[in-house]
Symmetry: C2
Subunit: 83 residues, 2 copies
Amino acid sequence: GDIAAGKAKSATCAACHGANGISPIPMYPNLAGQKEQYLVLQLKAFRDGERKNMVMAPMAKPLSDDDIANLAAYYASLDPVGK
Amino acid sequence: GDIAAGKAKSATCAACHGANGISPIPMYPNLAGQKEQYLVLQLKAFRDGERKNMVMAPMAKPLSDDDIANLAAYYASLDPVGK
């Protein structure tokens, strides 16, 4: 995926997952440095309802496959310690 | 949770999630430095079938609440870059 495009798309995500991909909320996961393919699988699972989550469903619903690839590339590219 | 007890319990997990919590397998997530509460929620969801995954279901099934608390504490305590 395209990291820059993913960053542009990530504005909404930052509220819960942190501007640097480290979540400020204990029940929401850090995404910084996570496995790119894992992120793609989870976003598709949320989008398609295979993985049920009331917060993530509306977030993932409008995403295209490209959006998902770009978001996954972006978060995978972030420093795992959030620097 | 108890980090040492979590580490003892994590032998099976290391195969897919890495001895240092950084997964060697692209479709499996890194756990090192992840949010403790998030990890507890996911392990319980896998155990109770709320989150469906054919690989994780048998892994989580036998875990007690204490096991889950200890595993979550252990992985949350690991260095996010796996050092």
